[in-house]
């Protein structure tokens, strides 16, 4: 109501200024907290002491104009900085005329235009005339990899992928005939599943990729269209017209963050990211202050989530002795016994602001609900999820002695947990609850037909009431979590995880199949920041050896795994049994042994790791060389291995710099497809070019060839600038080989872990669960997830630790009550449930008695998916919370007419 009556329109920053909002506002419909705020710089009352409309109309008296900024002093043990980035503002580039041409927009504006909740309701139209564009261009690296016109020398890491995604989405919106062109310098898609996404966009979705940096955008007189001139790959100047141009703006750290860091005494890099080291990637220069997200370095969502968990580990590790000293523990309310009681149902109909009430007549719905059987109480709330309403609901349950609750509101996906907590607070079993979704399934999709929407809301709630009346309280099994951890793999990731778990007080076992700790790190010379890798590995190894909470099992492999989250029992070589509560998969990956480019025919043709070895051994021959070449993407980005190995570009560029420093007059060539020195690794690429390293590009369809002739190693490649074949005689040819997964079907089967087509483990969720598996209690880090450099492996290891600690710290866990249960007397022992269950929950009873050989379900392993219920031919399996009677009750109440 306040927003409706507010007369002051202001720029909507959430929608990138593409539309207006009011001076009193919520940022967006799903905002958390969903509370209205006053913009003090715009409010007429606060500036001129006039208006005051919102105060007049607010029914709850929530408006306070004279609220002042207060300074609160907090004492904390550690600090995590996650202030984020600001999209680069391209107004300073006069050649793109972003401020002047309406149809030149930024990629963040494009996100809002594509969004269903955006200013155009998800309709892709251009700003000047609201017409659907026929041709859209994206310009990459705007405000990234650029030091002439802005100061951002870093690569922003995310723009190649988001531009590709926007182009794919734009085509999805406006049809395949929409022409989309991405103008780029290097296509940088080095993340997990990114390369396949890029290939799909290019090959199947018809997104055009043009390798060119466009200099100027010109207006076409008399139209709102735009003209660009660029040099194509053959060096010819091409003119092309577009309806709309998207500037793929980079990530930069805003001045206020720089100032804030200064106040905290946190050192920054040249590009204003927090200064960290490869072996302490989330620790800032100031003790006790940690960093995550894009302030640590430009990065995407999965990496930010990994960073965030890693920072939680680092921030928590130093406070271990004070764990659980400041937390507030919710009071446990004794559960009311509702057995044999007649259902007394409370129905809470939510307005969700105007989200529901703007379409559905909630008052009429509430009145209707009062007429339904077993309904004792009905009310309508503005926001059922708000804290005060929660308290009111709990109070009502107690006062009215309700024993079943229906909330008709939004989606159980996000809010069921919250309402179940409310039931618990009122002393009711939390399973005596049902949600009716009258927002996402109703008011949002039936805006045009409010009367029918109101009827549908009544139907939906009637069904929920019929179902909830039949609900019974459900029990959850409580399980103790064994406080011991098992880490599989003793490379850098595994060692980091184990050390951190031990520091936080948990007994940890490392299972390593080789005869020493360290893994692939033994083969690496130095980090991108110049740190000696072997020295650090030795330090970490000795710290592990002297930690009495860590037991290292070398030359060991897993032979069997039994049990489940909280209570695993793993057998390792030598018949040792280890009981543990959680497991971390840090099984690593291996270097690809090339078959191409004459590898193995001449000892001057080596891999990147061989070159590191030569540096480590101070091989004197390196100094005598006059010419060295690197070939990139050996075994990566190929048809049968379609991923990018992520580390090889930086590795080669770094080693090329080493060679140039060793002997400046040496000719050093890097033969590449796209140089993927993402983030601040771009500075190395720049340094290499400045030192005179020569970069020659090739295509997958036109690879270089290598021959060993008359005692010489010769590389043949077509120069992309001259368009002519080159013959390079080299003293050393380094192949930047792929990282390939250690496929171990046995381990995957033991812990029920999925593996993708390339052979890497599949995490619980690509973005929101990158350090854990769908299997409870099993975590993931390092190269077993995807190729990554040392700093990212360490971050990932710390993240897996954090996720594991969130489980271990609980000490006991509750299983879900909504699971399948068998009625053994009806079971015909056919075994279908045993074979269809993805979680191995059903088994045949081995206990002697009448049920011997009949199916039973382990409540701990059951995820409540319902597969066994549907497949049981004897009707012997029931699903708590979704039983046949409850579903039928819902169905017969669909509509009187049905």
């Amino acid at each position: 109501m306040c927003t409706e009556k507010c007369p002051k329109k202001v720029v909507d920053t959430y929608n990138e200024g593409l539309r207006k909002r009011k001076a009193i506002y919520v940022e967006y419909e799903q905002a958390v907290p969903l509370k209205y705020a006053i913009d003090p710089t715009q409010c007429i009352k606060m500036i001129k002491d006039k208006c005051g409309n919102c105060e007049k109309v607010c029914p709850t008296g929530a408006i306070v104009y004279d609220q002042k900024e207060k300074t609160t002093k907090l004492n904390v043990g550690s600090v995590v900085l996650s202030p984020g980035f600001k999209p680069f503002d391209p107004s300073i580039f006069d050649t793109y005329q972003y401020s002047k041409f309406k149809n030149v927009i930024t990629s963040t504006e494009m996100e809002r235009i594509l969004s269903a909740s955006g200013p155009t309701g998800g309709h892709l139209v251009r700003p000047s005339d609201n017409e659907e564009p026929k041709k859209i261009a994206w310009f990459q690296c705007i405000g990234s990899r650029e030091i002439n016109r802005c100061d951002n020398s870093h690569c922003s890491s995310v723009c190649c992928m988001y531009a590709t995604k926007e182009a794919v989405m734009a085509k999805e919106h406006n049809g395949p005939e929409l022409d989309t062109a991405i103008f780029y310098m290097d296509m940088r898609t080095p993340g997990k599943d990114f390369e396949a996404y890029y290939e799909d966009a290019k090959e199947n979705k018809g997104v055009r990729y043009v390798k060119s940096r466009v200099h100027t955008i010109d207006p076409i007189t008399g139209t709102d269209d735009l003209e660009v001139r660029y040099a194509n790959e053959n060096g010819e100047i091409v003119k092309e017209q577009f309806d709309m141009i998207v500037l793929s703006v980079g990530l930069e750290i805003p001045p206020e963050t720089v100032e804030f860091a200064g106040k905290l005494g946190v050192e920054l890099t040249d590009n204003n990211f927090a200064k960290t080291s490869v072996f302490n990637p989330v620790k800032t220069s100031r003790d006790g202050i940690f960093v995550c997200g894009s302030f640590q370095g430009p990065k995407d969502i999965p990496e930010s989530v990994i960073d965030a968990s890693a920072a939680a580990t680092a921030a928590g590790e130093i406070l271990t002795e004070s764990r659980n000293t400041n937390v507030k523990i919710a009071e446990v309310i004794t559960e009311i016994n509702v057995d044999n009681e007649r259902p007394r149902i409370g129905v809470f109909v939510c307005s969700c602001g105007t989200n529901i009430a703007g379409v559905v007549d909630v008052k009429a719905v509430a009145e209707y609900c009062e007429t339904l059987p077993y309904v004792e109480f009905v009310t309508n709330n503005m926001f059922s999820c708000s804290q005060d309403t929660q308290e009111k609901i709990a109070e009502t349950i107690r006062e009215k002695n309700l024993n079943r609750v229906v909330v008709a509101a939004c989606t159980p996906k996000t809010h069921e947990g919250l309402f179940k907590e409310t039931l618990l607070a009122a002393g009711l079993n939390k399973y005596l609850f049902e949600m009716a979704n009258i927002r996402n399934h109703n008011s949002w999709v039936h805006k045009e037909t409010p009367e029918l929407a109101t009827e549908k809301a009544k139907d939906t709630i009637r069904m929920s009431i019929a179902k909830v009346a039949l609900f019974q309280p459900l029990k959850e099994a409580e399980l103790q979590v064994n406080q011991t951890a098992l880490v599989l793999g003793g490379g850098l990731s595994g060692m980091t995880t184990a050390k951190s778990l031990a520091t936080q007080g948990y007994e940890t076992h490392i299972i390593e199949k080789s005869d020493k700790l360290g893994g692939q790190a033994h083969n690496l010379l130095k980090t991108v920041q110049g740190e000696d890798v072997r020295e650090k590995v030795a330090e970490l190894s000795s710290a592990i050896d002297s930690d009495d909470k860590i037991t290292v099992h070398l030359n060991s492999e897993i032979t069997d795994v039994e049990g489940f989250v909280g209570n695993f029992e793993t057998t390792i070589s030598g018949d040792n049994k280890i009981e543990h509560g959680i497991a971390v998969m840090a099984t690593g990956a291996s270097p690809y042994k090339p078959e191409e480019y004459c590898y193995g025919q001449d000892d001057r043709i080596i891999t990147a790791l061989d070159l590191d070895r030569k540096f480590m051994d101070n091989d004197a021959a390196l100094k005598d060389m006059t010419s060295a070449a690197f070939i990139q993407c050996v075994g990566s980005r190929e048809k049968d291995r379609p991923y990018c190995s992520r580390v090889c570009c930086t590795h080669s560029v770094d080693n090329a710099i080493e060679l140039k420093k060793l002997k400046p007059e040496m000719n050093v060539y890097i033969i590449y497809r796209d140089i993927r020195t993402y983030g601040e690794r771009e500075l190395l690429y720049k340094e290499a070019r400045e030192l005179g390293v020569i970069f020659i590009r090739y295509d997958r369809d036109n690879k270089p060839s290598v021959e060993v002739k008359d005692g010489e190693v010769i590389v043949n490649v077509t120069d992309h600038v001259l368009g002519r074949p080159l013959e390079i005689r080299v003293d050393l040819l380094t192949l930047a080989t792929a990282i390939i997964p250690n496929r171990d079907e046995k381990i995957a089967q033991f812990f029920k872990l999925p593996v993708n087509d390339s052979g890497f483990y599949v995490e619980r969720h690509a973005k929101l669960g990158p350090s854990e598996f769908a299997t409870d209690g099993v975590f993931l880090c390092g190269l077993a997830h995807y190729p990554k450099p040392i700093d990212e492996s360490i971050t990932h290891a710390q993240a897996a630790t954090s996720r594991a600690v969130t489980l271990l710290a609980r000490e006991s866990i509750h299983t879900n009550g909504e699971i399948a249960v068998t009625s053994p007397q009806n079971c015909s022992s056919c075994g279908i449930c045993v074979s269809v269950c993805p979680y191995s929950a059903p088994s045949f009873t081995t206990a002697k008695g009448p049920n011997l050989g009949r199916a039973e379900i382990n409540p701990v392993l059951c995820k409540g998916c319902g597969l066994c219920v549907a497949s049981c031919r004897s009707g012997a399996i029931n699903h708590n919370g979704f039983d046949t009677g409850q579903i039928y009750a819902q169905l017969v109440n669909v509509k009187e007419a049905v």
Partner: protein, 59 residues
Amino acid sequence: MSKDVIGSVMVVGGGIAGMQSALDLADSGYYVYLVEKNASIGGVMAKLDKTFPTNDCAM
């Protein structure tokens, strides 16, 4: 237990990284102060339409 070590953490910034960090810390037994300058949490991710490479809705 030492009285010098305070079992609370401040997380500055409520975007996807800050939220995840705060959740992990709270679930590990630490009291968390999540500080955000805007009226709601979510940061830049909440402005995005879909997210690569799965095309999931950012919200």
